[in-house]
């Protein structure tokens, strides 16, 4: 296998891992952001237990993406870490709070104790979703990287209007996705309220996405220039449009599982469109004459990429098999059992 082919495959796999993370942990984060809307302790516990058996595995997609990026494209991983230093530290804090809040909350039967961890669970979820979106916005927009490949920006520079817009759009997408998941996993009044949330959040998402595109046309012209000359971004955009049109239709008919698949497909297609438009660039440079980080110039050696591909070829089918098995075991409505949160 040629080096170029391996680099292409690994660029693709990194985006697959990130998209997989966004779809799977996306509804976990959404459930966290929607947590304060749950009425009463039982509803909140149902929400927590709906994601209880799976959230940990879902988060592993992000870890795997991080590990794979380190292995396949070390300079990109290194620059990402340096450039997003404070943002990553805040993201990690948010993820820590989220994880332990779920576990700690259930252990003491006191309203005040639960309130504290309800809040940290919400805040951690919201902050994680926002930061991930802002990071994506910055990746699309590019980072200030000089000609030697050094990051020369600041943390405040990451909080630019375009990236914040992408961040908010991401939060709304996860709210929509999380509501769709809860509509599948809950019953009665909780389910009815979640169903009612889907279409409004869908509307806000569509408006924000249009705004991001219009703004992006001027702010990140490089992305559109590259994308318009290719077929794949159009295919993904078409899938995205179909999924977006279908979401309110399925939701109105109370086809909850179909709605969930539609919101998931929309997120996957968005990543597909972005990835295929960006290829082979991971992070463009916003500096005149700066160095863009690409799959072709900043990868590991052919030997490493080949071994990694072998590892992925064995590991990924195994992961998909037992992940499917776990989701299948926990299909249906969430009940509170002994080991419930």
């Amino acid at each position: 296998m040629s080096l170029e082919l391996l680099q292409t495959i690994w660029f693709l796999l990194i985006f697959v891992l990130l998209a997989g993370y966004a779809v799977l942990d996306g509804f976990d984060l959404g459930v966290g952001i929607l947590h304060p809307l749950a009425k009463g302790d039982t509803e909140r516990r149902i929400g927590l237990n709906a994601i209880g058996p799976v959230w940990d595995g879902n988060e592993v997609w992000l870890l795997t993406a991080g590990g794979a990026l380190f292995a396949a494209f070390p300079p990109v991983y290194a620059l990402f870490g340096e450039g997003f230093y404070l943002a990553i530290m805040l993201l990690l804090t948010a993820l820590i709070f989220r994880a332990v809040s779920m576990e700690f909350r259930s252990k003491v039967d006191s309203p005040a104790w639960c309130r504290v961890f309800d809040f940290t669970f919400f805040l951690g979820s919201f902050l994680a979703a926002l930061l991930l979106g802002v990071a994506l916005g910055n990746v699309l927009r590019g980072l200030p990287i000089d000609a030697e490949g050094k990051f020369v920006g600041t943390f405040l520079g990451l909080l630019n209007p375009f990236s914040l817009l992408v961040g908010v759009t991401g939060v709304v997408a996860f709210i929509m996705h999380g509501a769709a998941y809860l509509a599948v996993k809950t019953e009665g009044g909780q389910q009815a309220r979640m169903r009612k949330l889907i279409v409004p959040s869908w509307m806000v998402f569509v408006l924000l996405a249009i705004a991001a595109h219009v703004y992006g046309w001027f702010e990140v012209p490089h992305l559109f220039e590259a994308g318009l000359g290719r077929v794949m971004p159009f295919i993904f955009a078409a899938v995205l449009l179909v999924a977006l049109v279908y979401i309110p239709i399925a939701s109105r008919k109370h086809k909850d599982v179909c709605t969930l698949f539609a919101t998931g497909t929309a997120i996957l297609a968005a990543f597909g469109a972005v990835g295929s438009a960006m290829f082979p660039v991971f992070i463009p440079s916003t500096v005149e004459g700066g160095m863009a980080l690409t799959a072709m110039d900043h990868s590991s050696t052919k030997l490493t990429l080949t071994w990694m591909l072998g590892i992925a070829a064995i590991g990924v089918p195994m992961v998909l098999t037992y992940t499917t098995f776990i989701y299948w075991t926990f299909r249906g409505k969430t009940k509170l059992g002994e080991f419930a949160y």
Binding site: N49, D56, L62, A68, A71, G81, E103
Partner: protein, 483 residues
Amino acid sequence: MDDPVLLSRIQFAITVGFHFLFPPISIGLAWCLVVVEWQAWRTKDPHWRDAGRLFARILALTFAVGVATGIVMEFQFGTNWAEYSKFVGDIFGAPLAAEALFAFFLESAFLGLYLFGRNKVGPGLIWFSVLMVAVGATISAFWILAANSWQQTPAGFIINETTGRAELSDFMAAVFNPSTMPRFYHTMMASLVCGSFFMAGLAGYRLRRDANNEADRKALKVAVIIGLLASIAVAFPTGHVHAQQVAATQPTKFAAIEGLYESEKGAPLVAFGLVKDDPPDLKARIDLPIEGLLSWLAFGDAEAEILGINHFREKGVGTPPLWLTFVSFHNMVILGVIFQLAMVLAMIQLIRKKLWTSRRLLLAILILVPFTLAACQFGWVAAEVGRQPWVVYPSLTLDEWTNLPAAELQAKVAEMSLLTERAASQSVTAGEVLFSITLFTAIYLALLALYLFLLFRETKHGVAPLEPGSTDASDPHGKAVSQ
């Protein structure tokens, strides 16, 4: 405090040290639970099942904190050690990715099934899911230790002359480098010591309150059997083999952990000493009264020469901080002996069927739990501080360390290694690192307090006994499901 490298070192020590409190418990406890759940499945005895139910809750709590703090590790190489990531990324990243793919998914998926699946699947699958958690945690330990071992004893790589970076030349040689398996076996045994003391300590804590609880007796029995075997195996053969490997591949570290200043043929084993770093000095040194013991232990030859710290100083190559390395290593060894004594006593009492009422011994085991974790930390400090001043230790043969002239040795060491001070991120400022250190320290202290509070609460309350013949669908909080 304006040196980003020093601050990044402190941050790494804090984050990995805190994280490393939890995986040894999770790994060891998961294997103990494999035995408990097997018994619960095969014997259908409700006491085994209750023992499993209680310690499953505690595993969940421990695992959650371990996972939460572990995420930090996956990203910290990029955030704080960007230059390191670039130098070794071609080799170091693959085990991390393999760990996530082969281990993290496995353990997290089956932990979900183990904890939430009791009213959905039967006891056989419950046993299988905790087995997969234990296997996943073990695979995880293997890959992260393979990565760490490559830093200690690099193999299967070449230095690219144009980029100056390490490039993979032989994947299997890099993964199974000289220290991978010795480190893996030793760390696994250490984890079993931690997990079994943990289970024994908490079961003993409960038995001190009610000596007739059959479930706690069963848990304690399993923990003592595993604990005895593990606390012997952590020293011999695994600790011994690991030390032999250090003697052969990392002579500067070996000299530091053994407190050897001058090179000696037929070197004795130093049991005690007061170490001074500068100038290197060992006061009040007490040797074990067996001639050439260290030489014999290290190389199987009582006459073998062991290089001292001064040998390397004279050759002008780096040596690790002596005090920290020596003291950490010896504390670990002393604690290891105490663990063996405790478990031998517990085993004697178990055979005499007096363990349930040996209140002082049960208390002693509980008190030793934090010390098993301390021993892990000491061992890890000895390994990592002993590796300094390099983040990637120079891969030279013992013959080269011994016989190369100073100038040649220095050149070779410089070529084949990476100094820690050159590994840090260049565009991250001291202020940023200081901010993240403060942030993580505050969070970790809060997490530790909450963890301990909940751990004792859970252990004290236990799990409500099940109605005869019922499934595990009861609700310990007494909150009925209203739908």
